[in-house]
């Protein structure tokens, strides 16, 4: 579904991704690597939030540079910090947000919002102001709001970093049970132990690309203190 052709990315003059060429077709793909190794940049390239400074990123054949909007309809994105992802004052409004901009009718929006809230155990919280939610509830809302838009693929950038153990497990389960293709950036090795494919980033390059059984030891080696 994702095709990277000789992709480079830089902020200002500094290049942070070099010569990335991969094709991502597996259903569950993880991205791990040191801080600053370029994982979030890679994730943002997947739905055209960033466009490559060289090379191309194709999503189902659509170039993210020219078809950004269509790509973002296909690819949902869950950010690390739900506080900046939740943009409406209450839970229900936030779930309705993206739907409104899709031009759905009021009735369809209400039905879909109710369904999504129920599915994610948020019905009780529907009128709760977002700033009064706990961290776990915020993350649940952020994920629910993205899924409400029915994307084909969901990218998660460190979805469990800010959560306690219980919410971490909950989110891990939610991600595991998604029928969508998912790409998950994480430092949490438990989360990705049964993924189909793991990309290990180091210094802006993919240094390992294999099943978790091989990739995780390679990552641990990389992280070993010298």
């Amino acid at each position: 579904m994702f095709l990277f052709e000789d992709v480079e990315h830089g902020y200002d003059e500094r290049r942070v991704l070099h010569g990335i060429s991969v094709e991502l077709t597996e259903r569950r793909i993880a991205v791990i690597g040191a801080n600053g190794s370029g994982k979030s940049t890679f994730a943002r390239l997947l739905n055209g939030l960033q466009v490559p400074t060289a090379g191309r990123v194709l999503v189902d054949g659509l170039d993210t540079r020219t078809e950004g909007r269509a790509v973002r309809r296909k690819v949902g994105f869950v950010f690390q910090d739900p506080d900046v992802q939740i943009v409406m004052p209450t839970v229900a409004e936030d779930v309705a947000f993206g739907l409104k901009h899709r031009g759905l009718s009021k009735k369809d929006i209400a039905a879909r919002v109710a369904g999504v809230l129920a599915e994610h155990g948020l019905t009780e919280l529907r009128d709760r102001p977002a700033h009064l939610l706990s961290g776990g509830e915020k993350q649940r809302l952020a994920i629910a709001a993205v899924l409400a838009l029915e994307p084909e693929c969901v990218v998660f950038d460190e979805p469990t970093t800010m959560l306690d153990l219980r919410n971490k497990r909950r989110t891990t389960k939610v991600i595991a049970e998604l029928p969508h293709q998912v790409v998950v950036v994480s430092h949490d090795l438990d989360l990705l132990s049964d993924f189909d494919r793991v990309l290990v980033f180091d210094g802006g390059r993919i240094v390992e690309d294999s099943a978790p059984a091989r990739a995780i030891p390679a990552y641990l080696d990389l992280m070993a203190p010298c």
């Binding site: 973002r72 950010f79 992802q85 943009v87 409406m88 209450t90 947000f97 993206g98 901009h101 102001p129």
Partner: protein
């Protein structure tokens, strides 16, 4: 103030928000022409009755008034000194009635419904090139992010106090500005990711 809504199913909850806002507006204007203390007192009783109808405990009513106690007292004293008892009484009754009525409207209406009522009320402004749905959108964003900015400010203040810096508005303002600008970048990105660009040319 930002999150008064109390979910419920009373008649007041079910009343269209537009109607409630219009009643509030008309009462606000109307009450200023009433000077008879009995009529004013009666109106206050009606409003208190409406609180009961909405199923909101009367204790809550006192809780809402408490922060205003000082202002109301000062105002009352000034009125007594300047205009005498009768007029002070009327002014206070009017104010309390209106405050309670306004609070009641916000407590029984979802913010989303209030914003869409305002959006509808603003639709005649279209002729001047204004886009009501944009105004509504900005209002919602503001309601969402004011508490967040306050949270950030509290964080910075706590961090500074931990390092021995006591209240200094400049020391608060600069890091807050930096944080808020960074947050704005992230929010802009999130809005794009969540399909705001779908609406850009609508």
């Amino acid at each position: 103030m930002l999150s008064l809504y109390r979910p419920g199913t009373s008649a007041l909850h079910r009343l269209p928000v537009g109607a409630k806002l219009i009643v509030l507006l008309l009462s606000g204007i109307g009450l200023f022409f009433v000077t008879n203390p009995f009529v004013l007192g009666g109106t206050l009783l009606v409003v208190v009755g409406l609180w009961c109808l909405a199923g909101i405990p009367l204790l809550e009513l006192l809780r809402q008034l408490r922060p205003l106690l000082l202002v109301l007292t000062l105002l009352g004293v000034a009125q007594v000194l300047l205009l005498g008892w009768a007029s002070a009484f009327a002014v206070l009754l009017r104010l309390i009635t209106l405050i309670l009525l306004a609070t009641l409207v916000t407590m029984t209406s979802r913010t989303e419904d209030m914003i869409s009522a305002l959006e509808r009320a603003a639709s005649p402004l279209r002729v001047f090139g204004l886009r009501p749905h944009r105004i509504a959108f900005v209002l919602s964003l503001t309601l969402r992010f004011i508490p967040l900015i306050k949270e950030k400010a509290d964080e910075i203040r706590a961090a500074q106090r931990a390092r021995g810096v006591e209240r200094s508005s400049l020391a608060l303002l600069l890091p807050l500005l930096v944080k808020v600008l960074r947050m704005a970048d992230h929010i802009a990105e999130a809005l794009d990711a969540r399909g705001l660009d779908d609406a850009r040319d609508r």
